[in-house]
């Protein structure tokens, strides 16, 4: 029954879900049609990572990128953000466990989050769960202006609204 239905359906796009887990925490989930090993590879090989981390729609270009993706290693990305100039993002990898877990810090500002990615494989597919833990609710709200910046985020009003509580 299930198999028949599968044949009739056109492949459904995997959905990216984003939610606020607590005042300081954001959670993002997504399934990939591949074993965890390949998702891990695409995330931890710098030459592969830089092919997807800055989607074209972001309109941001990569000026330089260095990364040593292993527990205790570090990374540094320098971006050219239209209307904003160059901006550097850097931090450390707190944990890199093959095929299951990547944890890194963002240290370019006090508001930087600790991000944890876990990969869970089930029948050849991989569920990716990404958690961003900020030091405070305000830091989370201000984070809208980081590399997560889609162009409209750099509008002055947005910046101000997102900086609420930064007294």
């Amino acid at each position: 029954m299930d198999a028949r239905q599968d044949n009739e359906l056109t492949p459904v796009k995997n959905l990216t879900a984003v939610g606020r887990k607590s005042e300081c925490e954001i959670i993002v989930t997504r399934t990939f049609d591949a074993p965890a090993r390949l998702v891990f590879q695409a995330w931890t090989k710098p030459e592969l990572f830089k092919r997807w981390w800055l989607p074209k729609s972001l309109g941001v270009s990569l000026l330089s990128y260095e990364a040593d993706i292993r527990t205790g290693g570090g990374y540094r990305l320098e971006l050219d953000i239209p209307g904003h100039g160059s901006m550097a993002f850097f931090g450390k990898y707190l944990e890199v466990t093959p095929h299951s877990r990547i944890v890194w810090t963002n240290e370019e500002s006090e508001d930087g989050a600790v991000t944890t990615v876990t990969l869970e494989e089930k029948s050849g597919k991989t569920l990716l769960v990404l958690q961003e833990l900020y030091s405070s609710k305000e830091a989370l709200e201000r984070a809208g202006g980081s590399e997560n910046g889609l162009p409209e985020q750099f509008e002055q009003l947005d910046e101000l609204l997102l900086s609420l509580g930064g007294a």
């Binding site: 990216t16 984003v18 591949a34 390949l38 590879q41 695409a42 981390w53 997102l162 007294a167």
Partner: protein, 121 residues
């Protein structure tokens, strides 16, 4: 005092330029409060707090309602819409990233298949 009625953009800009007003918004993010509560919390006279709330109200960041003698303040719709917009921007970013990641992964899958065939030959 400056007039804050040029446009909502200028209004928000001016409304948020003051530390007390940003504090008031943060406080209202935790729950509604009366002008009296806010005045006490920010060690201010009622008149002073009324002025601040007035500026926030004009900018659409706060709404107030008077019941009896108490005026209650709550976050305006714009502020709440901002929260939803934040989540939406985040979702769009990750979605765009993951779509490109899918392509990289597809390529790795194809490569593994080819390599696997070669290894068996």
């Amino acid at each position: 005092m400056v007039q804050y009625n040029h446009s909502s953009f200028d209004g928000s800009f001016a409304a948020l330029s003051d530390a007390t007003r940003r504090g008031v918004l943060e406080r209202l993010g935790q729950g509604d409060a009366s002008i009296t509560d806010l005045a006490e919390k920010f060690h201010m006279t009622l008149t002073g707090m009324k002025k601040h709330v007035g500026v926030l109200e004009q900018a659409g960041l706060v709404t107030t309602r008077k019941v009896g003698r108490v005026r209650t303040c709550k976050l305006g719709r714009r502020r709440l819409a901002e929260e939803a917009a934040w989540i939406d921007r985040h979702r769009r970013l990750w979605e765009a990233r993951f779509e490109e990641l899918d392509q990289v992964i597809d390529e790795l899958k194809r490569k593994e298949k080819v390599d696997g065939r070669k290894a068996r030959q």
